[in-house]
Amino acid sequence: MSPLVPLLVLVPVATAAAGLVVGRRRVLARILAVTGPAVALLVAVAAAWEVGVDGPRVDVWSVVPTGWVPIAVATRADGLGLTVAVMVATVALAVQLYSTEYLREDPRYPSYAALVSLFTAAMLLVVVADDLVVLLVGWEVMGLCSYALIGHHWELAEARAAAVKAFVVTRLGDVGLLFGIFVLGDLAGSFQVSRIAVEVPELAGATLTVGLLLVLLGVVGKSAQVPLHVWLPDAMVGPTPVSALIHAATMVAAGVFLVARLYDAFLASAGALAVLAVLASVTMLGAALAALAQDDLKRVLAWSTSSQLAYMLGGLAVGGYTAGLFHLLAHAAFKALLFLAAGAVIHAVGTNLMAGMGGLSRRMPLTASTAGIGLLALAGVPPLAGFVSKESILGAAEEAALHGGPLPAWAAWVVLVAGLATVLVTAAYVTRAWTLTFVGPDRTAPGSRPHDPPRAMAVPLVALAVPTVVLGVLALVPDVIASVLDRAVGADGAAGPPAAAVADPGVGLTPATTVLSLLLVAVGAGLVLAERSRIRGGDPAASLGGLRRVLAGGFGVDAAYDAVVVRPVRAAARLVVAGDSQVVHAYVTGAGRAARGLGGLVHRAQTGRVQGYLAGVLGVVVLLVVAGVVLA
């Protein structure tokens, strides 16, 4: 039993609690905020080292009876979990550091920092949990922190609305996830992933597929995939560091992580993988298109996040386990970097709208250069991390499409085609964002003096730029990523290596797709640049015409949900409130009135005139005798 893994969770919890206790003492709060993820990072590295030395392990700390499948308070130390844990701690540390400066003047900083710490703890719990119910605890606490942080600026109506929307939409998915957990637990007789991984593949069938589809409901909710993606763009009203941490690097990636966690089960269900593939493909392309038409820099990044997460899920769907997860890591680095850079820009110019930016590369060189690295990685330009990871996914898709994989070939084709198309669109929106923000004429508000951020914000930018570059190079070393991400559990975990009926293509470049996608990158960027020069430095998206509004609005999905779900529910609520007093309670008040009315009748007979009484007596007597004689 290694104490390191629980410690991983408890340290940020402790700093969160301590942060609440110290209250308004800001300096102390800052120190605590940074200490938490820093220590967690050290613990994560140590734990990862331990795993490297002793091999992966599962620890059951306590078993809670439920009357059905028991809940095991079990942790799991393996490559997958601890790699992601290291990533999470790293990004959290960067964000906390960044936030000390970004939110220097904010009176709500202490609670903010505490919530970020709590979030970190929850995410770490998700990655080290072996029991799905325990995982769900972390999963939903993350959602809560996300909700609270989106609503950080709760004076703003849109912040309040976005927060509620984010929580409710993901909650919908979470309920599905809970039911999925029931199905898996029921099949395996345990909620422990290590048991499920062993038992479930034996039980492949419709039930398993249904269970996994339910799990996918949670995944699409958390990872902002179609059809539950609608919350993520709105969530951008939260503070930018939060967007970097929660809505780019970690929480939204938890969906991908969960699929990876249950990968052995998913591999046993081609149907679930096909559905995942289709959803991912739709999201991939649709979100990229939506990103193309946004005015708000953060919303560009948000849609882009949906799209990139879809790459990861697509990768997992086509059997590219390592590729998908590698993209997760790479994306975490470059997208967190991008958000932090965007935060620096927004901090500097005072607006989110790209219409109010432009030419910032001159004023903010550090920001521009790190952001440039991030954007290139996002677009998939070699040799950056994003290039390698995306190509690996496309390669896996090609592999599955051409040579068969864990899912039907047509689904792999869908992923492949959508992935390639998305490459084009991604390059386009990346180029557009770059040109609108960092080059061209300066459209910042008069009097503002944009400048590079102070050190506490600059250090994280640089720190995240490093993995963005290094991971890409590192990935080319054979097998290193795959070995790090190994999800197998040995020792008392009782599970052997992954069922791996399908060989994992791993990380690497496939010539055909690589060439094709590089070409597409060039075309996408070129198109935008060409269009930009055609319209003399304006917004290339303007050329989309009427399509622009459709794309900017995310294809009207929000409006559709409003009409199909929100309004009917509100109407039903009003109906219930009216009906409760007018109909349901009416029976009660009616009974009361009836009793009183009956009483009125009785009183009416009580006239004080004795002959009236006698008439009653004698009349009843007659009836009584008749009834008695006739009936008896």
Binding site: A615, L618, G619, V621, V622, V625, V626, V629
Partner: protein, 173 residues
């Protein structure tokens, strides 16, 4: 129809006929007198049914005492000895309906129970003072004793109530 039956029928007719007048006569005093007639005719019926002792008691108590008391009360209440106020037609209709129903039900029940039954008057011991009185004091002592409490209580009650009236009137004056 035997002779006894004929006599009984005639007496019964008188009893019922004067009974009708009791409940319809507009004059209070007339009603009281018709009641006396009806009860007297009933006493005759008792005689025919061999209940001699009962018949005499009936005559003594009812026709004697009760009617006198009733008439006294009528005087005391200074009620108009002329026609008293008539009830409404509707009221009388209701009363008639209930009464008719009562009669119908009773007759039907009795018909079902005793149609064709005959009283063998010859076999019956005549209920003279000896026989009935004997039964009263040998068998029915307890209710008889209790009845004495009843009479005493009625007496005291009546006196109390009337004294209460006079006290009340005195205090008013």
């Amino acid at each position: 129809m035997t002779g006894v039956e004929t006599a009984f029928a005639l007496l019964g007719l008188v009893a019922v006929g004067s009974g009708v007048l009791v409940v319809t006569s507009p004059q209070l005093v007339h009603a009281g007198l018709w009641l006396a007639v009806s009860l007297a005719a009933l006493a005759g019926c008792y005689l025919l049914l061999t209940a001699e002792f009962v018949a005499w008691v009936q005559v003594l108590i009812y026709v004697g005492a009760v009617i006198v008391v009733v008439l006294f009360a009528l005087m005391l209440t200074r009620a108009p000895t002329g026609p008293s106020a008539e009830s409404s037609v509707a009221r009388r209709a209701v009363a008639a309906a209930v009464a008719t129903a009562t009669a119908g039900v009773l007759l039907a029940v009795l018909q079902a129970g005793f149609a064709g039954e005959v009283v063998d008057l010859d076999a019956v011991e005549v209920g003279g003072a000896t026989a009935t009185g004997g039964a009263l004091f040998r068998i029915w002592v307890l209710p008889f004793e209790v009845l004495s409490v009843l009479l005493l209580a009625a007496l005291v009650g009546a006196i109390t109530l009337s004294r209460r009236t006079t006290d009340h009137e005195e205090s008013e004056r």
